[in-house]
């Protein structure tokens, strides 16, 4: 394994170790093959396009007072669903927290959590972009380490 490939492997491992990604990301990696060689990156790109729009919608809804907690919960349910489908662990946790504040009718809590959510969303995006770029440079290596 050359230096670049080792670097890619380390980057990938740290995404899991630091809690950014969970098991579901490995599901995506397992769906990648010769016929779909960039599947994981394509999914991540699709997710970030859709989720950025969703965040704007939620932000606008949060600016309206009094808060419509049912509506906010509905948006967040959707957001949580797509975030969990790519294995975005920390993002998913913030979504869950937000929904709990919605159920409790806690507007302050929602707004605080939303800021944390945006931060996690942005951080993961940067980490994934760096990872995919390095992976492209390094060339194909075996990424899924879990025994089948």
């Amino acid at each position: 394994m050359d230096k670049n490939q080792r670097q890619v492997r380390l980057m990938r491992q740290s995404l899991f170790d630091q809690g950014f990604l969970d098991e579901q990301f490995i599901q995506l990696e397992e769906l990648q093959d010769d016929a779909n060689p960039n599947f994981v990156e394509e999914i991540a790109t699709s997710y970030y396009q859709d989720s950025s729009r969703s965040l704007q919608t939620i932000e606008l809804a949060l600016e309206k007072t009094p808060h419509d907690f049912n509506k906010l919960d509905g948006y967040m349910h959707q957001f949580k669903g797509s975030s969990s489908s790519i294995g975005a662990k920390k993002v998913k946790a913030e979504c869950q927290q937000f929904r709990e504040y919605c159920k409790a009718g806690n507007g302050e809590g929602c707004m605080r959590t939303f800021q944390a959510l945006k931060r996690e969303h942005a951080t993961l995006k940067k980490r994934l972009e760096a990872y995919f770029q390095m992976a492209r440079q390094a060339g194909p290596i075996e990424t899924a380490c879990r025994p089948k």
Binding site: Q24, Q27, L28, E30, L31, D33, N36, F39, E42, I43, S46, Y47, D50, G74, H77, Q78, K80, G81, S82, S84, S85, I86, G87
Partner: protein, 197 residues
Amino acid sequence: MEEDEFPIGLKILVVDDDETCLFILERMLQSLKYQVTKCRGAEEALCILREDKGKFDIVISDVHMPTMEEGFKLLETVGLEMKLPVIMMSSDDNHETMKKGIIHGACDYLVKPFQRTALRLIWQHVVRNRRNMVALAAAVAEPKSCVLVEDDDDDDLVASPAKKRRRLVWTAQLHHQFVTAVNQLGHKSTYYECFTN
């Protein structure tokens, strides 16, 4: 199609208003050698299904599109009109929602995010549905399959050519067929109403 090749090429319609989930599900199903058509919502799904009723074997649909009403309405309509098995899916793992899905006629309810292995055996729902449809058609179309008894002797349950006025006896076999069909079609279906009237 040979028995061991059966699952290959199964035609699946996948319905979800989340694009990312749709892509992932499509890829999972394709990796299992199923044929997949994607669409973004209930209205589009019904258009596609009505265009060619025989084209699909099974439908997999999200519950919230964006609210539960859309998902359950699609579920009921597909069951009634197309008589296809429908699997519901959602990241909502609330028991009440799951129960509602099953009551509305879903043959299964998958909680997202799920693994590829959760989809491996969905072809069994297609087989079960086809058998139920055949049983229902037989029960409705063949009154002679009922046990007919002579009217004046309730103790004598021997099937015999009608000499006197016949009446229908609801046998265990008929009852099983009926319950299977009702569970498949849903309690509110018009088929149920027609059958009982």
